[in-house]
């Protein structure tokens, strides 16, 4: 198949020594940030954006992909080893994995999580290889009205489905859209929302926004809640799996992958639902289901695989349609724009080197993850003893550095501070961050497509619905908005909140 030969080319390109170094760097960096609670891959990618200005886009994305996967591995390491009190961990891996660790089976928990992630990531990436080109081919023929509708769907789903409060989701979204408005209007060239300052006539650099909201916001938030009772860490030697554990793990790995991938590829699918579903499924299928809740290895294998497959799945809409569905994917999209690469269905045609090398690097990064990180697990655990003052001072240092390098203007630092305070505020008020960053980055794109669609129809709103796909999507949007509250009312229960905590914690 054509895809396979392209992948082969990509593998050869990705295996150059310098590219391998970038992949390894990304994986290590990603694990580093993943281990530390509250700091996620989105922040790491945002902090690295300025440095990548001098790099080749391919290499930058290889590193980002490594960070993405490494971040998830780091996160699961922490949730297994950190001696969290009771049920405060919401991630499925944490519940069973932590119990396993408390029972002295930390090595097996870590191993099954890592190998499961590898399996899921590899299969997931191969699925991307098969699906993304096909989807892109179909999507290329799609016009502005449908494209606008698709983005609207993504945005609406993310805003209203995730998170415990639709109101706050929309607040986040529209704050982001407002931020995205700042700058020159694309067709008439007039400055918008410049607050009378020439410095704001250009668009606000995505680095400043992303670093401010993710890095600075997090640092300020933690600073306000710095001291708390330390948690113990469960000591662990080398991760390894015995034969019986292998036998119990491999099917959950596959089932988890099958569950996770579709959810990752759909906007607002998220990782929480498939990991939860995987947990339930494994519990139902397990022969010794009463072990669940006390450290059943299937309860780690399945959800971990689902988590990683979901991450792989997010590359399908990102590469095929130019549609990001997680915070990290959104920042990667913005990075693409920064490199002058236009994301969208035509990406696979116009930048085949980038795409296929990236996909190949995902496979390589996955392998590196297993090879490098599995033996290093005890070392990563020691990272948790770092006092936070140094950590967050470092983050503030790199955040300031990053924002300053954009234009060498103190004004950007001022903007950084503003966005940092905004980041603090959204954490204080429970406003979800994903709709916000989506609004900042997708907002301008959506406006362009909206005006394109309406320009074609000379301003008549029918221009929005003169493609079949667009109409279909609008129907789906309407259903997504109307059905859940109706169902809840029929059942007589209040809207059940979907916790976005896992998303904010792992910052995908």
């Amino acid at each position: 198949m054509d895809s396979l030969s392209l992948l082969w080319d990509g593998l050869q390109a990705a295996m150059t020594p310098s590219n391998l170094v970038y992949a390894a760097l990304g994986v290590l960096l990603g694990t580093f940030v993943g281990v530390l609670p509250g700091i996620g891959p989105a922040m790491a990618v945002a902090l690295l954006l300025p440095v990548t200005n001098g790099m080749e886009p391919t290499q930058a994305f290889i590193m980002f992909a490594g960070i993405y996967y490494g971040g998830m591995y780091g996160g699961s390491t922490t949730s297994i080893l950190l001696n969290t009190p009771g049920e405060s961990a919401s991630v499925m891996t944490a519940i069973e994995g932590n119990k396993m660790a408390k029972n002295g089976r930390a090595a097996q928990a870590l191993a099954t999580a890592a190998i499961g992630s590898f399996v899921a990531g590899t299969i997931g990436t191969l699925l991307v290889v098969f699906f993304a080109p096909a989807m892109a081919e179909v999507a290329v023929g799609v016009g502005a009205p449908s494209y606008f509708a698709m983005m609207l769907l993504a945005v609406v789903l993310v805003t209203s489905v995730l998170g415990s409060s639709k109101l706050r989701g929309f607040i986040g979204l529209f704050l982001g859209l407002t931020i995205g408005l700042v700058g020159l209007d694309l067709s008439t060239g007039q400055p918008r929302l410049d607050f009378g300052s020439a410095l704001l006539a250009g668009r606000i650099d995505v680095v400043v926004v992303a670093v401010g909201i993710f890095a600075l916001g997090e640092a300020l938030w933690v600073a306000a809640h710095l001291r708390s009772k330390p948690l113990g860490i469960i000591p662990v030697g080398q991760p390894f799996l015995g034969r019986e554990d292998w036998a119990r793990s491999w099917k959950p790995w596959l089932r988890g992958t099958a569950l996770g991938f579709p959810f990752g590829a759909v906007p607002a699918g998220g990782a929480e639902t498939p990991t939860f579903l995987s947990y339930l499924l494994e519990r139902r299928l397990a022969r010794n289901s009463d072990e669940f809740g006390h450290g059943a290895i299937e309860g780690v294998a399945g959800p971990e695989a689902a988590n990683n497959a979901s991450a792989a799945g997010t590359f399908v809409p990102l590469l095929a349609l130019g549609l990001p569905v997680t915070a990290t994917a959104t920042i990667m999209l913005a990075a693409m724009q920064g490199f002058g690469i236009q994301p969208g269905p035509q990406l696979m045609e116009s930048e085949p080197d980038l795409v296929w090398t990236l996909l190949a690097s995902l496979l390589i990064g996955n392998t590196l993850l297993l090879v490098l990180n599995l033996p290093l697990a005890p070392l990563w655990a020691r990272l948790l003893q770092t006092p936070r003052p140094y950590l967050y001072s470092g983050i503030l240092f790199f955040a300031s550095l990053g924002a300053y390098t954009v234009n060498q203007q103190p004004f950007d630092l001022f903007l950084l501070l503003l966005f940092g305070l905004l980041g603090f505020a959204i954490r204080r008020f429970g406003v979800p961050v994903l709709p916000l960053i989506l609004g900042v980055i997708l907002g301008p794109l959506m406006e362009v497509k909206l005006r394109e669609a309406l320009a074609l129809s000379d301003g008549s709103p029918s221009g929005l619905v003169n493609e079949v796909l667009a109409v279909l999507i609008y129907v789906v949007i309407a259903l997504a908005l109307l059905v859940p509250p109706l169902v809840a009312r029929l059942r007589g229960e209040p809207d059940s909140p979907r916790r976005e905590r896992e998303e904010q914690m792992s910052d995908r």
């Binding site: 607040i171 407002t178 306000a224 710095l226 240092f397 550095l401």
Partner: protein
């Protein structure tokens, strides 16, 4: 400072924080009104700013549509938020493994950090990143509770000078040398 004591007759278990519990605030979260005001202000400003834009002739929609829409919805959202706040609803504060939700937020530390960042904004062009970067690092460490000032300044200086050279030689991006111009 928070303390837990254990004495021979076992006392009550320490408050293990559960995810959504927000012990410091009960009742109406007045701070959310502040957020609502901010949203309304932004929304109104967006609309007013949009009215100053001129519509191009070939463009049936014009640059005003999006801002009008966004501004209007922002105002609506701010009203909804105010209503929801009055009903006693509050957002879920972000929690994580490192947050103790029962403790009162330490805003003094936040203000100190903001102060250091403002200092950086004011002095980075004058003194140069190689100096102010070190100040940022050491200052933030101090604000966050580190007592080892000398060590922090040394680390900060290594980081700031190192990053200055990295960007200058490695990526051809000159950061301001400030008063060290000529030395670096």
């Amino acid at each position: 400072m928070s303390t837990t004591s254990r004495t021979p007759p076992p006392s009550a278990p320490d408050g293990a924080p559960d995810g959504a519990h927000d012990g410091a605030h009960d009742g109406i979260d007045k701070a959310q009104y502040g957020l609502a005001v901010l949203l309304a202000a932004l929304g109104v400003y967006t609309i007013i700013d949009a009215t100053t834009l001129k519509v191009g002739f070939a463009d049936p929609v014009g640059p005003r549509l999006f801002p009008y829409l966004i501004g209007a919805v922002m105002v609506v959202l701010s009203v909804l938020l105010a209503l929801s706040t009055a009903r006693g609803e509050r957002g879920e504060q972000e929690t994580g493994e490192d947050i103790d939700p029962d403790a009162r937020p330490d805003l003094v530390t936040v203000l100190k950090l903001v102060g250091i960042l403002v200092l950086n904004i004011a002095t980075v062009d004058v003194l140069g990143w190689a100096i102010t970067g070190a100040v940022v690092f050491a200052g933030c460490a101090w604000a966050l509770g580190s007592r080892t000032l000398l060590k922090d300044v040394v680390i900060g200086a290594v980081l700031s000078v190192g990053s200055w050279y990295f960007f200058y030689s490695g990526l051809d991006i000159p950061l301001s040398p400030g008063i060290l111009d000529g030395i670096l």
